[in-house]
Symmetry: C2
DNA sequence: AAATAAATAATAACAATTACTATTATTATT
DNA sequence: AATAATAATAGTAATTGTTATTATTTATTT
């Protein structure tokens, strides 16, 4: 894969936020620096960065979001404000349990907690 | 909500399988009994059945799937054959931990294990 | 049986994403 | 440094999954 300034800027933007942005959000941010950037270019590069393991694509309902943090972790999604917050919950016991009880070879465990974040405490 | 034969048949089909079918799969199955059924009718009724708690909508990447089993449970998805297998992994400790450590009010915990099922053992 | 309004089929609209293609930019080779 | 090879891009069209619209049909109430 050879250099492209578009890909560099897209990567920088993903790495600049904890907000787990969508492709469209990234596109609008990047357009300020590259006015004739194409949304297809954003999607293509996000896929490449995900495939090479630089970032991680996560799925939130029907939209893809992108996470600079490729380490294993989980997410809490607030149904009031939509915010996605990092959280670490998994331990190895889940993977071990599955392998043992179901003979299922585990690649990844995806956990999302749906609820209401502390900002909305009455 | 008043009776409709379309809704009855859609519900029966969801309740007839453990395969976590998509709207399109359900549509094609139901069309055999109701030849001029509309896909919109399938989506509308699946949403109603989900809202009244008769079935549960789950999200698998970018498609919705439907589960007759409304009890709390998790899923393993085989990346080779695409099968979605039920599994029970959660205990109350996750919910308690989140409430305590993050002051986050938990509604639902969604967990999906990605990997390879035992059918593909070499 | 007539009135009311929920549900339907058919179709259009929509949002997220991918595919296509002529042009441009990067890297390797001379 | 010029040339060649080809990966990446912008612009646009196409696709997919889903929701909205609307005239008509159907279930329920009166
Ligand atoms: Mn994260
Ligand atoms: Mn299930
Ligand atoms: Zn919130
Ligand atoms: Zn399998």
């Amino acid at each position: 894969m050879r250099f492209s300034s578009q890909r560099e800027i897209i990567r920088e933007i993903v790495e600049s936020t904890n907000a787990h942005p969508t492709a469209d959000w990234i596109y609008n941010k990047a357009k300020k620096r590259l006015p004739n950037l194409s949304l297809g270019t954003v999607y293509r590069n996000l896929k490449q960065l995900d495939e090479e393991g630089t970032i991680k694509a996560i799925t939130d309902g029907n939209v893809s979001r992108y996470d600079w943090n490729t380490a294993s972790h989980d997410h809490m999604k607030c149904k009031v404000c939509g915010e996605i917050i990092d959280v670490h919950l998994q331990d190895d016991s889940i993977r071990k349990k599955i392998r043992k009880n179901y003979k299922f070879e585990v690649d990844d465990v995806k956990m999302t907690i749906i609820g209401t974040c502390k900002k909305h405490k009455k």
